[in-house]
Amino acid sequence: MRVIDEERALELRKDFPLIDGSKGIYIDNAATTQKASCVLDAVRDYYLNANANPYRGVYDLSVRATEAHESARRAAAEFIHAGRPEEIIFTRNATESLNLVAFSLSELLLEPGDEILITVFEHHSNMLPWQQAAKRHGAVLRYIECEQDGTITEENFRSMLTPKTKIVSMAQVSNVLGRQYDIKKFAQIAHENGSVFVADGAQSVPHIPVDVQDLDVDFLAFSGHKMYGPMGIGVLYGKMEYLEKMPPFLTGGEMIEYVRRDGATFAEVPHKFEAGTVNVGGAVGLEAAIRYIQSIGLDAISQREEMLASYAMEKMTQIEGVHILGSADPKEHTGILTFTLDDVHPHDVATILDADGIAVRAGHHCAQPLMAFIKKADGRPVMATTRASFSFYNTKEEIDRFAASLAQIRRKMGYGI
């Protein structure tokens, strides 16, 4: 493993034209990462040299487009250690992946009165699809509440399972707290209970090695754009035993065998779940992003991001009025530091940081129930927060500038320090 030190990070930044040499500081990587040149080149190369509608044409160009899409499928399968490429379904993003599984799996499994179990810290994309599924099937959506620092004990998890719990869905890494959850353990407990386990990998797959067979999760969703790939391409991994039985989500072209006036038979998995002309360019870009990450090494990436979070935490906790959500241990943050600043609204924090060229996320981070659940020292819910999230290409110097800017905000807003 080649460690990413400051020198190596500066070298790797050259792969990202938007930030290389820029005075701006991009630390909103949990929202989306910057795109590597090799990704953009791969997308361009596909459209310049191999573009045709895949799967349909009998001519050579269409065969090449098909092969490009299938090559990306094999790369994604290899990346998360899926047993076979057919278990990889391409979607637009993690949100669509979660909508797909929530719709089709609930069609397969749910009866009135059944229960779906999620956590209070889920991103809205792993919450609303289940709310909708529960409504459609007369099922009950239940929430596991975490501790204030985001931890969920095995005991707490077990206590929420009942014989009616058909589906459990939770994030491997919280997009707000950055905490990693032991989904291998939780999946095992869920399986013992006869429940299917769905994992939201949007914030884990780009940052830590993920092996779906070792974790033994039944489904895993992630997005390409959070891992240096293009927007508009995502993945749903699912175990074949479920994918084969689940009804389709979207219907139309490309996903059929035979269509009659009174019905249709559907194509084999994964095509059954990929209606319409697929996003070959996006898939090709995702494959390039996967190869790029593999060339750097996920171990090196996660080590670097942990170091950056640790360095930033040390600087931030010295600033009066800053409170970081979640664990006090930077190892439990996966490069995500969400915080409040006393007396100053997160949107004002973000606007003032923006004036210094620093891009952070402010607001509820698509996790409103969590924002209402986490309390400030005075007992009121935080409601909104500011989030800095790092990638391996960020530098200590950028964090120094971020901390220096952050330290000025209360004074700028008229609060004495």
Partner: protein
């Protein structure tokens, strides 16, 4: 760029010491205004006489400095004004935010004119206009 001067003393002072952030006894009208995406939330209260004069204006709520200061400055401006005049000033404010008001018009807004640079900050426009939109809605609902 205007950013570094944007959070000026007028704005921060209205945010920290909002003179109109309190409840009115027996308000004639009351309406909640919310920006769901960022959580800004105010309740605007007006006391209006029979001849449509705004005798008192106040608000309570939570939100960013821009939303709270803007609502406070608005209350200062419309107190003692006729309804039509308040709506005319509101129209100037909204046009100022779109970059469409003249300097003479902006001068009429008094301290609220300090928010002119919001027109360069699209992400914060809804914060600045929350109070003014709520004012507009109050009169629409009660006309």
């Amino acid at each position: 760029m205007a950013f570094n001067t944007f959070y000026n003393e007028i704005l921060t002072d209205h945010n920290m010491h909002p003179g109109n952030k309190h409840k009115i006894e027996d308000p004639t009208y009351e309406l909640e205004g919310v920006n769901p995406s960022c959580g800004d939330d105010i309740v605007l209260q007006l006391k209006v006489s029979d001849d449509d004069t705004i005798e008192d204006a106040a608000f309570v709520g939570d939100g960013c400095a821009i939303s709270q200061a803007s609502a406070d400055m608005m209350c200062d401006l419309i107190k003692g004004q006729k309804k039509e005049e308040a709506l005319r000033l509101g129209d100037i404010f909204l046009r100022m935010i779109k970059g469409e008001a003249s300097q003479e018009e902006i001068d009429e807004l008094d301290e609220a004119g300090c928010l002119v640079d919001i027109s360069h900050m699209p992400a914060r426009v809804k914060c600045a206009v929350l109070g003014w939109h709520t004012l507009d809605e109050i009169f629409k609902k009660n006309s």
